[in-house]
């Protein structure tokens, strides 16, 4: 299982110190969700401050992906309140679009658009959603491609890139919308071990700039280095939440201890 391996060694990297503000970026209050009869999220309460980095871990099926996908309404919650950037998520399509404009997301399988070039992938949302002139959008796209260190790939199609490059393009694509919050749904789980590092480095540099981030990941080295708080979820509930040092060195709940003993060697 590659996802349990931590590629970034935790000891020799300095921790990122960008203090979060007291302003709330995302707030989940008593959120419940069911898939048919199955109760997948149970009473989730979470407050994320602006500039805060949260890492969410837990076994498969624990609801961690579902939780962050509720934040940009890729999944609908049935009970409770979710407030993103001061806007409450309801079934109102206008509000959903408004929130999605401000929240970037990266997926496990990148979800790049294979029929468009890298540059077109990046400029699509700025042009159609932000109504930016094409030229400005391309400039912006090249800026972010440079930032993820692959400007030379702009004219290629996603299928011609390696997994790590594709995931960095996906990050750049999300950044082109100048999001206030970034969601990462297991961004390195589908990658070969050699490519995990380049993606994590991109995410670390994003963290250094003070981006509000919610990451579902099993990269514990990344969690230690970047996170302000680590959340452990199981069976649709938040089991434990703590700052990384305490979380890893002194887990409280039995379930957390078991989980950590299995993924840390």
């Amino acid at each position: 299982m590659t996802e349990a391996h931590s590629i970034v060694p935790s000891d020799d990297l300095p921790a990122v110190h960008t203090p979060p503000s007291r302003e709330t970026a995302v707030e989940l209050i008593g959120v419940h969700k069911w898939y048919g009869e199955f109760h997948v999220l149970k009473d989730i309460n979470l407050k994320v401050h602006r500039g805060e980095r949260i890492v969410i871990c837990g076994p498969s099926g624990s609801g961690k992906s579902t939780m962050i996908r509720c934040i940009n309404r890729l999944e609908e919650h049935q009970q409770g309140t979710i407030v993103v950037d001061g806007v409450e998520l309801t079934s109102d399509l206008k509000r959903i679009d408004e929130i999605r404009r401000e929240v970037g997301m990266c997926f496990q399988h990148f979800n790049l658009f294979p029929h468009l070039t890298i540059l077109e992938n990046l400029t699509l949302a700025p042009i159609w959603v932000r109504k930016m002139p094409k030229k400005d959008a391309e400039e912006l796209a090249m800026h972010f491609l440079k930032k993820v260190k692959i400007p030379e790939q702009a004219g290629k199609y996603p299928g011609q890139l390696s997994g790590g490059q594709q995931q960095r393009v996906a990050i750049a694509r999300a950044l082109c919308m100048k999001p206030k919050i970034m969601l990462f749904d297991e961004p390195t789980s589908a990658l070969d071990p050699e490519m995990v590092k380049e993606v994590l480095e991109t995410m670390v540099s994003l963290a250094e700039e003070g981006m509000t981030m919610l990451c579902v990941t099993h990269e514990m080295g990344f969690a230690r280095q970047v996170a302000n708080r680590v959340i452990f979820m199981d069976a649709g509930q938040i089991i434990e939440m703590n700052e990384p040092n305490a979380f890893f060195s002194n887990p409280q709940h039995e379930r957390t201890k078991l989980f950590l003993s299995q993924i840390l060697h």
Binding site: L74, R100, F107, L112, F113, A125, R173, M177
Partner: protein
């Protein structure tokens, strides 16, 4: 450098350099050995295939070219014991095969329509050509309007729109008119438009708080309809040619092109509707699709031509060709819808999520992300439907519309050309003509498929 594996450990000291592949089976002999005679069974099959070619091709060439008659003015030329294809028959009937009974003096109009069609279609088909937007507008919007005016003569008799039916307008405007345009009709039209815009405004206001958008949409729709009607209503001095007089390749192409151009957007809309979250929309689309897929085209044409008038009020009698056109278009749309649905289902969920997460609206997502990929996937099946539509146009014969094949069969009855080979010649010619169109579509679709295949490019 020798390495032994006896002790179970190994450390590479030198990296291998890439070598060219082994040179075996090269040249024509090698190719034949590999592809034609690789085994006993394959050798036998190859020889059988060769025998089949020898058996079919030379007689065909002899009939069509060597023994064929090329000149002559009546059946006398094509009588004889060893006579091949009777090409003078085709020459004599050529105009009829192309234009049907279209008046001889007006055939330049058909030629012009054909010419414009080719001039506008070719740049549209060459993918690398610029100005696609203008080109599509000209071909899909301006061309049909112009073709309608040219082929029918325009000057439709627009007399009553809405109020006219209640005898309200004539009293005011009388029968005054300019250039074939009746003023009463336009007074009627404007009044109706104003009324509809007002109603749309009121409904929009009640339902969504602001009626501006709804009113504007309605106004645009009426403006478009008005412009269209006006263009068709003006008397350009062209002689009116009833669709009953149309025929031959003209009718075949009119039905095929209209069918293709209208069934495509309709089919896409139906496919999207069938996958919609809204249960009533979904149900309506399913009913529509299953209905049209469940009845044969012949039944549709027959119903549209002979049964429909029984249900329509007296005096309302849509043109025969128009009825066939609508039938063919709706019939094909149902098939296209299912093909497109197959393409939509093949698009991974991640593409939808990727698009939604970026804040694209539903229509942007469909237009920019999902449909381009889905349609590229189903090009072979779509072209399949179009080819079968092209060939199915011959069925309009049973409702007394004489398409290309219909005209050909009518030509067979001419005693002037009654020879033993007339039938064979005619059908051979028809076969060649249909083949050219269908094969052309098929090759073009392969070209487009290769051009658009970016997703699997590595």
């Amino acid at each position: 450098m020798s390495l032994t594996f006896d002790d179970g450990t190994f450390i590479r000291t030198e990296m291998q350099t890439p070598l060219p592949p082994p040179r075996r089976n090269v040249g024509a002999i090698g190719w034949m050995r590999e592809n034609l005679f690789s085994s006993i069974t394959n050798s036998v099959l190859t020889l059988l295939g060769l025998a089949l070619v020898v058996w079919i091709v030379p007689p065909l060439i002899r009939f069509l070219l060597v023994d064929a008659v090329w000149t002559g003015s009546n059946r006398e030329a094509c009588l004889g014991p060893e006579v091949g294809a009777c090409w003078p028959f085709i020459k004599a009937k050529f105009a009829q095969l192309i234009y049907g009974f279209y008046p001889a003096g007006e055939r330049w109009r058909v030629d012009l329509v054909f010419f414009l069609g080719v001039v506008l279609l070719v740049p549209l088909l060459v993918l690398s050509w610029p100005h696609k937007r203008l080109n599509s507008f000209l071909f899909f919007v301006a061309y049909p309007i112009l073709a309608f005016i040219l082929l029918t003569g325009g000057n439709i008799d627009a007399s009553n729109f809405l109020f006219g039916h209640f005898g309200l307008i004539r009293a005011v405007a009388g029968d005054a008119g300019v250039a074939g345009v009746r003023l009463g009709f336009w007074l009627d039209f404007l009044l109706t438009a104003a009324l509809c815009v007002a109603v749309a405004y009121a409904i929009g206001r009640l339902a969504a708080g602001s009626g501006r958008g709804a009113a504007r949409m309605t106004a645009y729709a009426f403006a478009g309809l008005g412009l269209l009607t006006l263009l068709w209503d003006i008397d350009f001095g062209l002689e009116r040619v009833e669709t009953r007089q149309w025929g031959g390749l003209l009718v075949t192409l009119v039905i095929a092109v209209t069918g293709i151009v209208t069934s495509m957007p309709l089919g896409i809309a139906l496919a999207l509707g069938r996958r919609s979250q809204m249960p009533i929309v979904r149900l309506l689309c399913v009913i529509f699709i299953e209905f049209w897929r469940g009845v044969p085209l012949i039944t549709v044409l027959f119903f549209a031509t002979y049964m429909l008038p029984l249900f329509l009020p007296v005096g309302v009698n849509p043109d025969g060709l128009l009825r066939a056109l609508v039938g063919v278009a709706l019939f094909t749309a149902a098939y296209i819808a299912e093909v497109v649905r197959g393409g939509l289902q093949a698009i991974p969920k991640g593409q939808y999520e990727g698009a939604m997460a970026m804040g694209l609206t539903w229509s942007q997502m469909m237009r920019l992300i999902i449909l381009p990929q889905a349609l590229t996937l189903v090009i072979p099946s779509i072209v399949n439907s179009f080819i079968s539509l092209f060939k199915d146009t011959t069925l309009v014969l049973i409702v007394s519309i004489f398409d290309f094949l219909g005209q050909l069969r009518a030509a067979f009855t001419d005693p002037n050309w009654a020879t033993p080979v007339t039938l064979y010649t005619g059908f051979a010619f028809a076969g060649i003509v249909y083949f050219i169109f269908c094969f052309g579509m098929s090759r073009y679709s392969l070209f487009v498929e290769r051009r658009l295949n970016t997703s699997h490019r590595h």
